[in-house]
């Protein structure tokens, strides 16, 4: 044996699950909701997804090239952001607006703060918030195909939450079954609770997320809405709007949620509380995006207050 041995600090073996694999599983878990969106809201949804993903990946690559950093698009995190952004816009959104959203998410929200893991708010949600401010009409024009009439595009589809809020012309609230399958108006990836739950199951099974954030978030909304007693009832509240998408895929974003179990429970409760307050008392019909963005800002303090107790230490050092 004449060659040199490599010398390194232990451990000498590593888990198979790396960042890229995690992101790949998140993409896989997002597929059912995307498919449901394309089927229920029209195939233009696919075009919007493509534009969002391409704009995110391209702006990350260009930014990293220009700033002479290693290009890390192969970690697939930009693809996840692109998909999530697309899932948070209506299928009729003009494609140039979608592209602007992607660029904003990547450059201003993610890379201005240092890139992967360093951003303080969820890039896709911040992108959506920017779009909602810039193009409020385009961002709230809902259409739907409906299961029965898959060929008829462009039927007006007021969202159930807008009907509850009374901001849309009178409309009938959908049934629970329609809301569960996704036969309602809404953003590309948010309408089908069933598809989102399947994706959530995948993430739980692969231990990519824990149950804490989605379950605490959803239960908090259900309980508060039951107490407030809005017309739709708690079940409709949790099946409509962006709650399923937000609680399973957005509030669980590693970079912008607390790292400890206790912190995640506090964070998710806060998300649920703010969502309920916005939906019931706020000026917007839906509050998932803003509640998560607001709670994102509390993550550093939550992390600090929920530091784990060191084994053998008598008291928490917080």
């Amino acid at each position: 044996m004449d060659h040199l041995l490599s010398v390194a600090s232990s451990p000498h073996i590593r888990s198979e699950m790396d960042t890229r694999r995690i992101m790949a599983w998140v993409i896989a878990a997002l597929v059912p909701a995307g498919a449901a969106g394309a089927f229920l809201l029209g195939t233009r949804s696919l075009l919007v997804m493509a534009v969002c993903v391409i704009s995110c990946v391209a702006s990350e690559a260009i930014w990293q090239k220009v700033t002479r950093q290693p290009v890390t698009v192969s970690d697939l995190s930009a693809t996840v952001t692109g998909l999530l952004l697309a899932y948070n816009v209506p299928p009729t959104i003009p494609l140039w607006m979608a592209a602007c959203g992607g660029v904003f998410s990547m450059i201003i929200v993610k890379h201005f703060f240092g890139g992967l893991g360093q951003n303080i708010v969820n890039p896709a949600l911040a992108g959506r918030a920017m779009m909602l401010i810039c193009w409020p009409v385009a961002m709230t024009t809902w259409t739907m195909n409906g299961i029965s009439g898959a060929t008829v595009e462009g039927t007006s589809g007021a969202t159930p939450l807008a009907i509850l809020k009374g901001t849309e012309a009178a409309g009938a609230l959908p049934g629970i079954a329609d809301a569960f399958i996704g036969n309602i108006g809404g953003c590309i990836g948010e309408t089908s609770a069933l598809a989102l739950l399947i994706g959530g199951g995948v993430l739980l099974y692969k231990e990519i997320i824990s149950w804490r954030i989605p379950v605490v978030y959803i239960v908090t909304v259900a309980v508060i809405q039951a107490l407030l007693g809005r017309a739709g009832g708690p079940l409709l509240e949790i099946l409509t709007g962006g709650l399923m998408l937000g609680s399973i895929f957005m509030a669980t974003d590693y970079a912008t949620s607390p790292m400890t179990a206790k912190g995640q429970v506090i964070f998710a409760f806060g998300c649920g509380l703010v969502t309920s307050l916005i939906r019931t008392f706020g000026g917007y019909p839906e509050g998932v995006s803003y509640s998560i963005l607001i709670m994102n800002l509390t993550v550093p303090i939550i992390d600090r207050l929920t530091m784990p107790r060191i084994l053998g230490e008598v008291k928490s050092h917080g």
């Binding site: 010398v7 451990p11 590593r14 790396d18 960042t19 970079a255």
Partner: protein
Amino acid sequence: MSLPTFKGGIHPSDSKALTSEKGIEILRPSGEFVYPMSQHIGAPCSPTVKKGDRVLVGQKIGDAEAFVSAPILASVSGKVKDIATRMTISGAIEQCVIVEGDGEFENGTTLVPHDDFRSLAPKECIGIVREAGIVGAGGATFPTHVKLSPPPDKRIRWIIVNGAECEPFLNCDNRLMLEHPEPVIGGLEICMHIFPEASGIIAVERNKPEAIARLEAELSGRGSKASVMPHAVKYPQGAEKMLIYTVTGQEIPPGALPAEVGCLVMNVRTLYHIWQAITNGVPVTERIVSVTGDVIAEPKNIQAPLGTSVRTMIDAAGGFTEDPAKVLAGGPMMGISMRSIDVPIVKGTSGILALSAASARKFTETNCIRCGRCITACPMGLQPSLLDRVVRLREYAEFEASGGMNCIECGCCSYICPARRHITQACRDGKAGVMAARRKSA
């Protein structure tokens, strides 16, 4: 029913099948044997022989005045060839006694067999343990006579036998429990004789059912008061603090020794040595080493004289099938990677693990994604991602304030990190940085 365990930890692939069924093979090589004068935690020994002396198996060749130390004994008979500095298995350069073995293995121990250890006073037992050169065989190599002499105000209520062997690949403790359960339990009984108030608990991971069965059979055969406690398979179950928590539910305060909570933790091999030394008059001159890994031709468990070179051990296991990328002393989680295989095995060498380039991949660090896996995995309840960050900024005071000195360097954080960050290494740097700052201000 879930088995007892600790908080945190990881489940790496155990890779034990390579050597778990391989019976212990005795190797008695000839040639050169190298004995580093520091094979334990504590004061290094000074040679007690000189060049040209003839030495015998079990003869003392190095000793120290200090209490925290353990003598070094020759493992072969032969002539002292040289006293010189050589590289040791940890990569350090240390003073060594070098003996050219004559192949006779002529016994020269001063220890005498005692048919009934109960006739000996605890002090006498501890004295024999020192003279036999016994140190913790699990890898920490803390001198056993020191461990058996806790401060008088500490009541020892539990003697916990560490048969966890939670490091992947290794089987030396497993094979010892399977093939020699009686000296292991005998050694435990001696410890219980030294600490009559203590109960003896042998903690073994559930993935060693045969060893558990052999120990239980042996215990009931002797009518022993000790018991076997199977526990969940999880790394680092064999770490002292994790084992004590698992068995007794107690946490050791930071910086304290197990005796603080009434516990003594002894590796199965250490107990074997205690029994051998007191009952049979046999000191520590050999040990079982799992020679394994994916580039070893015939992985096996070899009992060889201390001082045998790693190269000889690997040759005895059929050599390499291809060039190894790394050769480790110990397991893949905490083992030390060797610079050269021309170094001797020592008292703390539990395994020699040769890994191919594919299994010892080099990883490039990427950004922390704040997934929190390291926090969940850390058995000490630390925040490894935070420690990693402050060490990179050289903020050693912040490292210390965040509890970094409690790190046991088990490697769980680096293992689990999807961003491939070298967190354990950063914690080692952090601890060294804090120690350097303390020395400076002292």
